[in-house]
Amino acid sequence: MIGALKKLEVDFRGELPLVSNLDQLEALKVKYLGRKGLFTSVSGRIAELSKEEKKLAGQAMNRVKLLLEQLFADRESLFKSQAISSEKKIDTTMPGTFYAPGSLHPLTRVILDVTQLFERLGFSVVDGPEVETEYHNFEALNIPPNHPARDGFDTFYLENGHLLRSQTSTVQIRIMEKVKPPLKIIAPGKVYRPDATDATHAFMFHQIEGLMVDKDTSFADLKGALLAFAKEFFGSKTRLRFRPHFFPFTEPSAEVDIFWEAQGQWLEILGAGMVHPNVLSALKIDPRAYAGFAFGMGVERIAMLKYGVEDIRQFFENDVRFLRQFE
């Protein structure tokens, strides 16, 4: 009888792998473990055995039965789990349904990059009005009426006698009217000049003005601040060149060029200088006790250089195919 049990086990092990679904498995179970199944017919023969043999055969029967049940259960759970997974199968190559991203305007990106750097250097971001007075836009900045220095600052006038600021340097004046030095500010904003529009000129554009006034502020500080900016903004290999220039509100004044590996030539990027003593005096800041530096950069200009934009008008057309590139 033990031999018969052994054979039953071997036969079962041979048949089990041929079963491929739950129905077949059920049929196999009936064949082996059913009421009239093979196991029952083999185990029925136990009555024929002696007492000693019965004991051994009983143990063997138990072992085989448990084994068969275990193997059935394993196979059954395998089929069930396969059935579940085939039911829930999805096409993971279909597009995800994330929320479409927005984007910052490239000019805002530049403004953020620049202001964040200067904030790390201890500058505060400030804001000023676009509609300005003649005084803040010109006189306070040491630009007298009827002076050729105004040529570079052609201005839109409003019917109410005010004007649209032609440079963000007006913010210097607005801040120093309210706050006494030491101070460090960075002021991004829109400016307006009646220039005919073409690929490099727009009647509205953005500037970022920087100003620092303290007891020992020197030209070396100006160079340090701008060098830090240039390296961070254009890359660590960027070099700077300061060329003497003239601005009514700074003395000494400089135009600043960068040498950017990507372009292989000197490119003018901003104007800067030490705050003119007349500007400080007009604000009741003693130019003998305090000195300051100021700089102003054209946001469109540096955005065009950095991102390879060839026409300034693209910034104001707002073609989403252009804006999308700044996601």
Partner: protein, 681 residues
């Protein structure tokens, strides 16, 4: 300003190639825009800043080359006989200056018996390099000296001057002037002119007149060398649109010290080229001697403090001397500096510091990161930083930032529903009708952008702009935000944008800005919006948002709906005073109990009113009311809608018994029934 190198070399040795010279000039502040090689001659095109009129002449530029090379300038020699001709006994001319402020000094020199002829070829070449047409030896001499010295001169045909008098005066009403270039202008009553006894013969400092022009028949010349008020020359030049080499120099300021020497030089050249001519007397009006420039004290310490660079006393002195300044040491650490008459721009210590530094070289200054070495109260401008943060937030929410121009046309304003044009500011001097107004709202730019992109096949747009608008004399920073097409559009969800989406985004923004006290008010339909809501804060209107009306979108050829909102941001950014510290509340000990309520109700009753009513009826236990469904249409009578709310009850003292919740639900049902005659479903 053009600088032909051959011409420069008449006055100074240049040991450099044109490229080297260009580099040296550029780095010392005379920017070379380009180097042009024309028929064997190198000509540098220079950008001369408005503070350096002295560099609008060959001799002025020679001074720059002198300080850079260390070489000396060879000044042109003038015959003694010319220099010494003073007023003779004969008085063939009277000079009357009616406006001494407008003309501080006027000189006129008579040159007699000239035979008008061409000037020598090398002079004609020089003028050609400058872009000036050679005319004859008289005119060419004045132009050559203008370029050489920077002093504009003018030659009149002496015999054509009526009454033998020169009157420097303001023009009179009705007077006309015919310029050398053939333009005729009607003079206003403010223009400074040179007149003879009867009529204007030149606009002072700008252009001579045709009536007294030197021609081939001219025999006697009256050579004018003078100086005029900068502002008057500038005004006249701009008013009559006459931009000449002369006006260009006068409006920037000429050196009065050159008036006599330039006149002598031109006379000398004329005589050299025309041996038959003879120098006549010179007539002068105005101060004999020029006021000396004030000396400026420059302490070396100030120089060092301002530049961050140590430069020795002797080096500082040498630089300034080579620039033509008079330098006197005061003790061991100061110098007293007197600038030459050509350098009217030098008035302060800072001006001297720039001179020294630009020659020593900006590159010598070692960069240092700026520190603030004193206690500092940092400035706070919560708006400036807040706006940048808000832009980032909106971009994270899926909106694309746009920047549109702030000057817009009247048509754009009207088409955007802004009809009270009087509240908008007009630009006095626009370049075109497209820039007639400073925008009083951001809507036109937004619609323009939507149209631009829709006509380029964009089908869904979520856009925002933060910028300033100007209406009724007030400049305000505002947020404009819009949704066009589907809010979401992919294979699982297609959601057409609705008012509620923009409202939700606005609520997100208000949360982000920690703004709590905002009220929403429903508006009636208007020409601009179909449905809209107005937002107020502390009773003040801060914005409107809604579905733009069909007729308005029709003006812009936009076929599909646009949801648009414009919100004033100025009041939103508060100075952070004392930090707001979050205090954690203990979590509720007992769970929330949820129940739903659904009913049909007159569609005019607002959800806000129902929420208030329900909360009041189940005070204080109803902690949340959330609308989860709205339905109209099939099975709902017209004029009604079906609403379903999820209610959350909370008690702090224990769990609710079923009866308690049922009692609260009954209270709510009663309240709804009694107030609005609702029908429960």
């Amino acid at each position: 300003m053009k600088l032909p190198i051959t011409w420069l070399k008449r006055y100074i040795d240049v040991p450099w190639t044109p490229e080297q010279l260009a580099e040296a000039l550029t780095l010392s502040g005379t920017k070379v825009e380009h180097l042009e090689k024309k028929s064997g001659e190198s000509v540098l095109e220079l950008e001369i800043t408005t503070n350096r009129p002295d560099c609008l002449s060959m001799l002025g530029l020679a001074q720059e080359v002198a300080v850079l090379t260390g070489n000396k300038i060879k000044f042109p020699k003038i015959l003694k006989s010319v220099l010494n001709k003073k007023n003779s006994a004969v008085k063939p001319l009277a000079i009357i200056i009616e406006d001494p402020k407008g003309c501080p000094k006027y000189t006129a020199r008579l040159i007699q018996n000239v035979t008008v002829r061409p000037s020598p070829v090398e002079i004609q070449n020089c003028l050609g390099w400058m872009g000036t047409r050679p005319v004859n030896q008289v005119v060419d001499a004045t132009n050559f000296v203008l370029f050489e010295t920077g002093q504009p001169l003018h030659a009149f045909d002496y015999d054509k001057l009526i009454g033998r008098r020169i009157v420097v005066r303001r023009s009179r009403a009705g007077e006309r002037f015919l310029g050398l270039d053939g333009t005729e202008v009607a003079l206003d009553e403010k223009t400074l002119v040179i007149a003879d006894a009867q009529r204007p013969v030149a606009i002072a400092g700008v252009m001579g007149g045709k009536l007294t022009e030197v021609t081939e028949h001219t025999k006697n010349i009256l050579l004018e060398s003078a100086c005029f008020d900068l502002g008057l020359v500038r005004q006249a030049s701009r008013k009559y649109k006459l931009f000449t080499e002369s006006s260009y120099r006068f409006e920037r300021g000429v050196n009065p010290g050159n008036i006599l020497s330039a006149s002598a030089r031109a006379c000398d050249l004329t005589l050299q080229w025309d041996p038959g001519a003879s120098a006549g007397p010179i007539f002068e009006k105005g101060p004999r001697k020029e006021a000396k420039a004030k000396p400026i004290l420059l302490p070396l310490l100030t120089l060092e403090k301002m530049t961050g660079l140590k430069i020795s006393l002797s080096r500082t002195g040498t630089i300034l001397k080579n620039l033509g300044f008079n330098v006197r040491p005061i003790g061991a650490d100061k110098i007293l500096v007197t600038p030459p008459g050509s350098r009217g721009d030098i008035q302060l210590e800072a001006d001297l510091i720039e001179e020294v530094l630009r020659i020593e070289g900006f590159d010598k200054v070692r960069a240092a990161l700026p520190m603030t070495r004193h206690p500092e109260t940092p400035i706070q401008d919560p708006k400036a930083t807040g706006v940048l943060k808000l832009k980032q937030f909106l971009s994270d929410l899926g909106f694309r930032e746009i920047i549109t121009v702030s000057l817009i046309s009247e048509k754009a304003l009207v088409n955007a529903g802004f009809t009270e044009l009087g509240r908008a500011q007009k630009i006095v001097n626009p370049l075109s009708a497209e820039q007639a107004f400073l925008r009083p709202l951001l809507l036109p730019g937004m619609l323009q952008t939507i149209l631009y992109n829709v006509s380029r096949k964009a089908d869904a747009l979520k856009l925002f702009e933060i910028g300033n608008r100007y209406a009724a004399g007030v400049e305000a920073t505002v947020l404009a935000v819009s949704i066009y097409g589907n809010l979401e559009d992919h294979w699982r969800r297609k959601i057409p944008a609705s008012f509620y989406d923009l409202k939700g985004i606005t609520e997100n923004i208000l949360d982000f800005l920690k703004i709590k006290n905002v009220q929403w008010h429903e508006n009636d339909a208007c020409p601009k919006y179909k449905n809209s809501s107005t937002l107020t804060m502390d009773g003040k209107k801060i914005g409107t948002l809604g579905d733009l009306s069909q007729p308005l979108l029709g003006h812009w050829d936009i076929a599909r709906p646009v949801i648009y909102g414009e919100l004033v941001l100025d009041g939103f950014f508060k100075k952070s005073g004392e930090p707001k510290i979050i205090q954690v509340k203990p979590l509720p000990k007992y769970p929330l109990v949820h129940r739903d309520v659904a009913f049909m109700i007159d569609e005019r009753v607002s959800v806000a009113a129902l929420e208030t009513l329900m909360k009041k009826a189940a005070l204080p236990y109803l902690s949340k009311v959330r609308l989860f469904d709205e339905y109209t249409g099939k099975n709902i009578a017209s004029g009604k809608r079906s609403l379903a709310f999820s209610l959350a009850y909370q008690k702090n003292t224990g769990t609710f018994a079923d009866e308690e919740i049922n009692a609260l639900q009954t209270k709510i049902s009663e309240a709804l029934k009694n107030t609005y005659q609702v029908e429960f479903r």
